[in-house]
C-alpha cells in the first residue's frame, strides 16, 4: 500500500515536533523490522483519526479486491465481465478514496480555515462531493457491465 506510506511520510516532516515527542529515532543501521516498526508507530502517532477511518476503508477495498482477484486465479474468469466489473469496482473505489485522502489529509497544515485554500487545492467538503459523484458514476458503470 504505497499511497499510505508516502502520505504518512509526507505528513511526518510537516510536524517536526511530533518527531521528537514520538517514538525513538532511527539510526542508519536499523534493521528492516525496526524501520517498519518505526514507520508504523509514526503512522499511529501522527495520523488524524478521520484519516485512519479512511485508511481502514481503503484496506477493506484492498481485501475485497484481492479476494476477487484470487478467486479469479483459482476458479477461472468465467463470467469475465462479472470479474472485470467486480474487481474494477474495488480498484476504482480504492483510487477514488485515495484521492479523497490526498485532498483531505492536509488538515494538519493549519491553512484549512479559508474556504478555498491559497495553494489551489479545494475544501474538504468540495473534495467529498466530487468523491461521491465519482463513486456513483463508477457504481453505475460497474453495475451496467456486470449484467
Amino acid at each position: 500500500m504505497p499511497t499510505k506510506r508516502t502520505t504518512a511520510a509526507a505528513a511526518a516532516p510537516a510536524t517536526p515536533k511530533s518527531l521528537s515527542s514520538g517514538p525513538k529515532t532511527l539510526t542508519a543501521n536499523s534493521s528492516v523490522y525496526e524501520i517498519a516498526h518505526h514507520v508504523w508507530q509514526q503512522y499511529l502517532a501522527t495520523t488524524p483519526q478521520r484519516t485512519m477511518l479512511l485508511d481502514a476503508f481503503m484496506a477493506f477495498l484492498v481485501l475485497v479486491g484481492g479476494t476477487q482477484f484470487f478467486y479469479c486465479v483459482v476458479a477461472g474468469n468465467y463470467p469475465f465481465n462479472a470479474f472485470l466489473s467486480g474487481f474494477c469496482a474495488a480498484v476504482g473505489q480504492f483510487v477514488l478514496t485515495a484521492s479523497l485522502r490526498m485532498q483531505t489529509s492536509s488538515v494538519s497544515k493549519g491553512k484549512a480555515k479559508d474556504q478555498v485554500v491559497g495553494d489551489g487545492s479545494v475544501s474538504h467538503e468540495r473534495a467529498f462531493a466530487d468523491y461521491i459523484f465519482g463513486s456513483l458514476i463508477l457504481h453505475f458503470f460497474c453495475i451496467n457491465f456486470i449484467n
Binding site: 485512519m52 476477487q68 483459482v74 474556504q115 474538504h124 467538503e125
Partner: protein, 289 residues
C-alpha cells in the same frame, strides 16, 4: 424361366452341372495354365494342366511382375475346331465386375492368352478374394456354348506399393454431418464459489470492527440534523435511492427507465448535498470535526 433371373446363375448351373453330354457342345482340351516370373529361369514357376471341361482345384496366383499364360484347344464335341469366341473371363465375386480377354486362336482350335497385372483393370488389383476365372467358348450355329469355371486367380501385390484407386463420382447419398458445438464455459464448483462469497462478505463486518476500534461513531448525527434537518435527510436519502435505482437497474430496469429517475434524484442530491456539506464545513470550521 427361373434360370433367367441371373445370368451368372444360369451360367453356373447349366454349364457346370450338365457338361457336354450332347455331341453339339463346345468344350476344351489340353488346357494348361502357367505363371512365369520375370527374371526366373525357364521352367521355373507355376505350371498346371487343367482337366478337360473341368476346373483346376488349385488357385493360381499372379504377382506384379508375373505373366499368366493360358493355352487350350477349343473343341466342338470331340473335334478340335476354331471357335468365334474363346475368352478368358475374370470376375470379382464381390462386386460382380467382369472383363474378358480373347484368346489368340489358330485354325486347329489351339488358343493362347497371356496376361500381366498391367492388363487388369485397377479395380481388380485391390480385391480381397481371388478372382473367378472362367472359359467362355462359343460360336455361331447350334452347338451349345461352354461357360465353365477354370481356376481361381489370386492377385498378389507387394504390400509396399500403394494400390491404385479410381475415384468415380456418382450421385448418391452423402454421409451425414452434425455440427460439433463448442463447449459452453462452465462455472467452478459451487463450494469454492460460496467460500469466496463468504470471504468477500466477511470483509464488511471486519471493516465495521476496525472502524469501531478506531473510534468511529455517528455522534454528530443529532447535531447535524438539528442545524439543517431537511438537507441532511434528503441528501442521505437521495444517495440511498440512487444506489437503490442502480440495484433496480441490475435487477430488471432498462437504461431508459433509470436515466430520468437518476437525473431527478441526482438534482435533489446536488442541491441538498451542497446545503448539507455547507453545514459539515461549518462544523469543521468551528473545530468540532
Amino acid at each position: 424361366m427361373q434360370l433367367w433371373h441371373s445370368v451368372l446363375q444360369l451360367s453356373l448351373l447349366v454349364f457346370t452341372a450338365a457338361p457336354t453330354a450332347a455331341a453339339s457342345a463346345w468344350g476344351f482340351a489340353d488346357a494348361t495354365v502357367s505363371v512365369h516370373t520375370k527374371g526366373a529361369g525357364v521352367g521355373a514357376g507355376f505350371k498346371e494342366t487343367i482337366p478337360d471341361n473341368k476346373a483346376l482345384s488349385k488357385p493360381v496366383s499372379l504377382g506384379s511382375t508375373d505373366t499368366l499364360k493360358v493355352s487350350l484347344t477349343a473343341r466342338d464335341g470331340s473335334s478340335a475346331t476354331r471357335a468365334h469366341q474363346v475368352f478368358l473371363f475374370l470376375q470379382d465375386p464381390e462386386t460382380g465386375l467382369d472383363i474378358s480377354y480373347p484368346f489368340n486362336v489358330k485354325d486347329n482350335g489351339k488358343s493362347k492368352v497371356e496376361l500381366t497385372q498391367k492388363d487388369l483393370p485397377v479395380q481388380f488389383l485391390s480385391v480381397s478374394e481371388p478372382l473367378d476365372a472362367r472359359f467362355l467358348i462359343g460360336s455361331f450355329g447350334s452347338s451349345e456354348a461352354y461357360n465353365g469355371a477354370a481356376f481361381k486367380l489370386a492377385v498378389t501385390r507387394n504390400p509396399d506399393h500403394p494400390v491404385p484407386t479410381v475415384e468415380v463420382s456418382r450421385y448418391g447419398k452423402l454421409p451425414e454431418i452434425h455440427h460439433i458445438f463448442k463447449d459452453g464455459p462452465s462455472s467452478p464448483p459451487i463450494v469454492i464459489t460460496l467460500t469466496f462469497v463468504a470471504m468477500v462478505l466477511a470483509a464488511l463486518p471486519i471493516l465495521a470492527g476496525v472502524w469501531i476500534t478506531l473510534g468511529a461513531n455517528v455522534c454528530h448525527l443529532p447535531k447535524a440534523f438539528k442545524s439543517s434537518p431537511i438537507s441532511h435527510a434528503v441528501f442521505l436519502g437521495s444517495l440511498l435511492s440512487i444506489e437503490g435505482i442502480f440495484f433496480l437497474y441490475y435487477k430488471s430496469w432498462t437504461l431508459f427507465q433509470i436515466l430520468p429517475a437518476v437525473a431527478a434524484v441526482g438534482t435533489v442530491a446536488f442541491i441538498s448535498g451542497s446545503r448539507a456539506l455547507g453545514e459539515v464545513q461549518g462544523r469543521r470550521l468551528d473545530g468540532s470535526r
